[in-house]
């Protein structure tokens, strides 16, 4: 299962709205595990890159202060219905995931 849920819709005004939901703990490294008393190590997404037809439309640099299971939305111009939009994230522990969606 992909960690990314993404929807891209083209509006009448030629602007594409992209909404992305990623499942990720986004641990800050400041919280203790209630059962073991040990600090949960920082584990958060650092970078999210969104591309449309191979062109970068958004690069997000994140710190641990983005909420758990991050939500991100943005809008851009110049896309057609049926175009692909690709998103890729990398976290501070070296994990990554990517996903593609078709603009509707």
């Amino acid at each position: 299962m992909s960690s990314i849920k993404m929807r891209a819709t083209l509006g009448d005004n030629g602007v594409t709205t992209v909404k992305i939901l990623i499942s990720h703990p986004m641990d800050t490294g400041l919280v203790k595990d209630k059962k073991t008393g040990k600090v949960i190590p920082a584990h958060f997404i650092q970078e999210v890159v969104c591309e449309h037809n191979g062109t970068n439309v958004l690069t997000a640099e994140w710190g641990p202060a983005i909420s758990k299971n991050p939500y991100l939305s943005f809008r851009f111009k110049g896309a057609k219905a049926g175009d692909a939009i690709k998103v890729n994230w990398v976290d501070n522990q070296g994990n990554s995931d990517s996903s593609e969606a078709t603009i509707k």
Partner: protein, 157 residues
């Protein structure tokens, strides 16, 4: 149907750790781009040092062309929806800073050429304080703040 899917998604999110492991086992490719992640700015403990480390300057110009949409009172500081929109021309990046967080810089968004000056996300707020949007356009920095009150009890404000 939509709400059903959401349930499943939330359940799935509990297993994120396992997914992360699976991802790291298979799909990891070394990425040079991460070298660009501004560690110093994210580690900075004051608004000024975060801004200067991120942009190399603290010369912020107040602007009423930036609109921050955020709740006046956030019942749960762990999930505060924020959206930022600006009518300033030639925006290069939008950064969100939480004044009272231990490390104020929460995120920075670099926009592509056709990308509109609009960003929506959800951030964590440690306590009541300003949420500051810093917009970089044409080499200049513009900012606006909005006070968000964080209540911990969860019974409203």
């Amino acid at each position: 149907m939509t709400s059903m899917k959401r349930r499943i998604f939330l359940k799935g999110s509990l297993a994120t750790g396992a997914i992360g492991m699976a991802v790291s086992a298979g799909l990891i490719t070394p990425r040079m781009a991460l070298a660009a992640w501004p560690k110093e700015a994210f580690d900075a403990t004051s608004v000024d040092s975060a801004v200067s480390s991120l942009f190399g300057s603290t010369a912020l110009t107040g602007s009423d062309k930036i609109k921050i949409k955020a709740p006046d009172i956030a019942e749960n500081g762990a999930v505060v929806p924020i959206s930022i929109e600006t009518s300033i021309d030639g925006v290069e990046s939008i950064s969100i800073i939480a004044e009272k967080n231990a490390t104020p810089l929460t995120s920075s968004f670099v926009l592509g050429k056709g990308t509109e000056s609009y960003i929506a996300t959800r951030i964590k707020l440690g306590k009541t304080g300003s949420v500051i949007a810093v917009v970089k356009a044409g080499g200049k920095l513009y900012s606006t703040g909005k006070e968000v009150k964080v209540t911990i009890g969860g019974c409203g404000g």
